[in-house]
């Protein structure tokens, strides 16, 4: 459950809601599924609310095929200027 992508998390939530709607699962299992659903919701909230945009400049690939990057400066300057001049 921990490694769900956002898309998978949403799909699982949909599944849980449908199970609760059908009303076919027992009371105890309904409770368990509800708790699982709340757990997934919390993690989704966290991912969305805490996210801060990261921008890097992709400069190339090294010999081992890994990315060579550096922080992307340009727009930071521009947006700072934008903020300062309102």
């Amino acid at each position: 459950m921990e490694n769900l992508t956002f898309e998978e998390a949403l799909a699982e939530l949909e599944r849980i809601v449908r199970e609760l709607e059908d009303g076919k699962i027992g009371l105890e299992e309904s409770l368990t599924r509800y708790e699982q659903g709340v757990g997934i919701l919390r993690r989704c909230y966290g991912q969305l609310r805490q996210a801060e945009q990261r921008i890097v400049e992709l400069m190339g690939m090294d010999g081992e095929g890994k990315a060579v990057t550096r922080p992307f400066e340009h727009v930071a300057k521009v947006s700072t200027i934008k903020n300062e001049t309102g």
Binding site: F6, E7, S30, L41, Y45, L48, Q53, E57
Partner: protein
């Protein structure tokens, strides 16, 4: 000092008056003319008007395409293009030069560049570069977004701002490239291929710099088309304007009309998603609560039903009926006994009335012969002088018969 006196009878006019006069003459002499020439020094102003020079081998004239005319163009105007245009002449007073105001323009045959472009497009169609079936869907919640565009200009700034607002969860990988000039096409292609070497990138935005006077020729080159075609990563192209669609736009998986639109196409709106999550939360809670209330209701209803509230009642009921039965039985028996008793009493009473002893009670007496105790009913049964016993209610009398009658 001697001042020069103008000769009398000659009209002296101002520069403005001269200019106005020339304008009128030009307008009257050339109300509508067709001119053929080659475009040079083409500049697109931010206002949307296009200023250019029309020239041939020996002469040139300044020309202008107002924005309204330019927006109706169905081909791309650029330096070197041979055109045929209809328009009129006027003077631009602030500069004192005359200009050819174009009202209608057509390409004169096809320039070499246009032919080459046309041929390239046909080739790419044959190779399936523009096929609709090839277009891949864009990821819904990308975690890694690549950006291949000019580092200068408004485009990259707009894209980054919108990405940051809508879906900050995604990391942006910027690949600044030159978008026009010699070698630009190769740089663009290299950047696209580099992005494809990173396994995590889920979508790529290809943009121009943002200036309207840009030459988009690099995006019509085959090397760029090939890089997009072979890209494993889906490409969103925000290169062409409304009317001048480049080959890059046609090969891309999705075409955006503006850089901002491109940013919106690749990301969800996280505010909307958050609202959706909250609604989901509410729904789940409601469903669970409903479930509990339903079950509680049923429990209460069952508890209310008498069979469950007093499960022994049926047995008690039966017991009471048995008791009742027993009582009734007793009573009945008693009554019967009583009745029987009554009967026997009654009979006894009757018997008693019939009993001779009872007769005695009423004053009668009973006479028996002393000898054999036979009851005397008849005078013939006794002789005078016989002894008889007379039984009265209270005692016996020994008697002798004195007389008979």
């Amino acid at each position: 000092m001697r001042t020069l006196e103008p000769p009398t009878g000659i009209k002296i006019c101002s520069v403005s008056e001269l200019t106005r006069a020339v304008n009128m003459v030009l307008g009257e002499a050339f109300p509508s003319i067709w001119v053929a020439g080659e475009i040079a020094n083409l500049k697109r102003a931010s206002s949307g008007h296009i200023y250019l020079t029309l020239k041939d081998a020996y002469a040139q004239v300044r020309a202008v395409l107002w924005r309204s005319t330019a927006s109706r163009l169905h081909f791309q105007v650029r330096d070197g293009l041979e055109i045929i245009a209809r328009g009129n002449l006027s003077v631009y007073p602030p500069r004192g030069d005359y200009q050819f105001v174009i009202e209608e323009v057509h390409p004169k045959g096809l320039g070499a560049q246009d032919v080459a472009l046309k041929q390239l497009k046909e080739k790419l169609v044959r190779l399936g570069y523009f096929a609709a079936e090839r277009k891949r869907p864009l990821p819904r919640f990308p975690r890694h977004i690549a950006l291949v565009t000019s580092a200068a200009g408004a485009a990259i700034r707009d894209i980054l701002e919108i990405l940051g607002r809508r879906w900050p969860a995604a990391q942006v990988w910027a690949c600044p490239v030159r978008v026009q000039g010699l070698g630009a096409a190769e740089e663009i292609a290299t950047a696209i291929r580099r992005v494809n070497h990173l396994a995590d990138i889920e979508v790529l935005i290809l943009g121009r710099g943002g200036g309207s006077s840009e030459d988009l020729a690099a995006f019509n080159r085959e090397v760029v088309a090939q890089a997009i075609f072979t890209s494993r990563v889906p490409v969103v192209s925000a290169v062409g304007h409304e009317i001048d669609v480049t080959i890059a736009d046609l090969v891309a998986d999705k075409r955006a009309l503006t850089p901002s639109e491109a940013a919106e196409l690749v990301t969800p709106d996280c505010k909307q998603i958050l609202d959706g999550l909250q609604a989901c939360h509410g729904r789940m809670s409601d469903l669970l609560l409903n479930r509990f209330q339903t079950i509680r209701g049923r429990l209460q209803e069952l508890a209310g039903r008498r069979t469950l509230a007093q499960p022994l009642e049926r047995i008690r009921d039966r017991e009471r009926r048995l008791d009742d039965g027993e009582v009734r039985l007793h009573r009945a028996m008693k009554q019967k006994l009583a009745k029987v008793q009554q009967l026997t009493d009654a009979q006894a009473a009757r018997l008693e009335t019939l009993s001779p002893l009872n007769v005695l009670g009423r004053g009668y007496s009973l006479t028996r012969r002393e000898s054999d105790h036979v009851v005397v009913r008849n005078t013939a049964q006794v002789q005078v002088g016989d002894r008889v016993v007379t039984l009265i209610e209270q005692g016996k009398l020994m008697c002798r018969v004195e007389e008979k009658s």
